[in-house]
Assembly symmetry: C2
Homo-oligomer: 144 residues x 2
DNA sequence: GTTGTTGCAAACAGTTTGCACGAAA
DNA sequence: TTTCGTGCAAACTGTTTGCAACAAC
């Protein structure tokens, strides 16, 4: 199950290579941090945790957008406005996030094509994409 | 049409009163700034523009969340991650935003109830809400 | 060997806060 | 007259950058 969501080191390595980016232990560690659990983290979380491996905060700040460009990480918006990050498979992605523990479920089918077409017709906009997230409480947090 | 989207001073005044908040010229000016055009602005935009009326930035920073609580302002997320704000009617709100000029169209019907129910069933989450935005280019920006 | 990456610390930007004054109720 | 809001400036938080040493290729 985890193998469907996260990628083994070799695959991450290939993603770097394909993009002409160097594969360093620090970058692998940043990806590993975010992909260890199926949940979102703030950059501060990552900086704190990775300091234990002597990885500097500048490296974390530089690596997160890189992983995003490679499609390995996605930004989500907590209801509070805070930005958080989740390890994801490349491609269209939506999150259902628990606002209490940070746990995240991915889902793909969002059925927004028809709504998009209708809005485009009504407004004359050229619609390029959308951003959608659901939030609430996971089963464990709800029953607490 | 504008009267449907923005509110006359008296209505804004009432919104403050109803919430037990004082109605000051500064607060009215902040709301007026955001509601003047059907588009989104960053807080920096508001600070710059309102400095001309001798309104301090702390006041802007304090007033924006207040207007949000009153349902007069909504936060949207530019694809870049930047936060922007739009004057809106209270209630369920979605934005279709032009990423070039900042113009915003409101729409309400998002048809996500069924998807929400399906996800809740599948994941066991108690879903409290969602966040959805569309972005692209408005007609004017697309034909340029 | 060449080029890109890292860690550090300093710089920077955006946001919040303490306080004395002034305005709303 | 009391209470709350405002403006200013300082403080604070989160993020970015310059640079010398170092590691990937």
């Amino acid at each position: 199950m985890a193998s469907k969501r996260t990628r083994p080191n070799a695959a991450v390595r290939d993603a770097f290579r394909a993009a002409g980016e160097r594969c360093t232990p620090q970058r692998l560690a940043v990806y590993k941090f975010f992909s260890q659990h199926r949940r979102s983290y703030s950059i501060a979380d990552a900086v704190d945790a990775l300091a234990a491996e002597a990885i500097g905060q500048a490296t974390v700040y530089r690596t997160v957008p890189l992983l995003q460009d490679l499609g390995l990480l996605s930004r989500i918006h907590a209801p509070s406005g805070e930005h958080r990050w989740v390890a994801t498979r490349p491609g269209h992605f939506h999150a259902l996030a628990c606002r209490s523990c940070g746990r995240v479920e991915e889902f793909a089918g969002c059925d927004l094509d028809e709504l998009e077409a209708r809005l485009a017709r009504r407004t004359g906009y050229h619609i390029e994409g959308h951003h959608m997230e659901m939030y609430g409480l996971c089963r464990a947090c709800a029953s607490r």
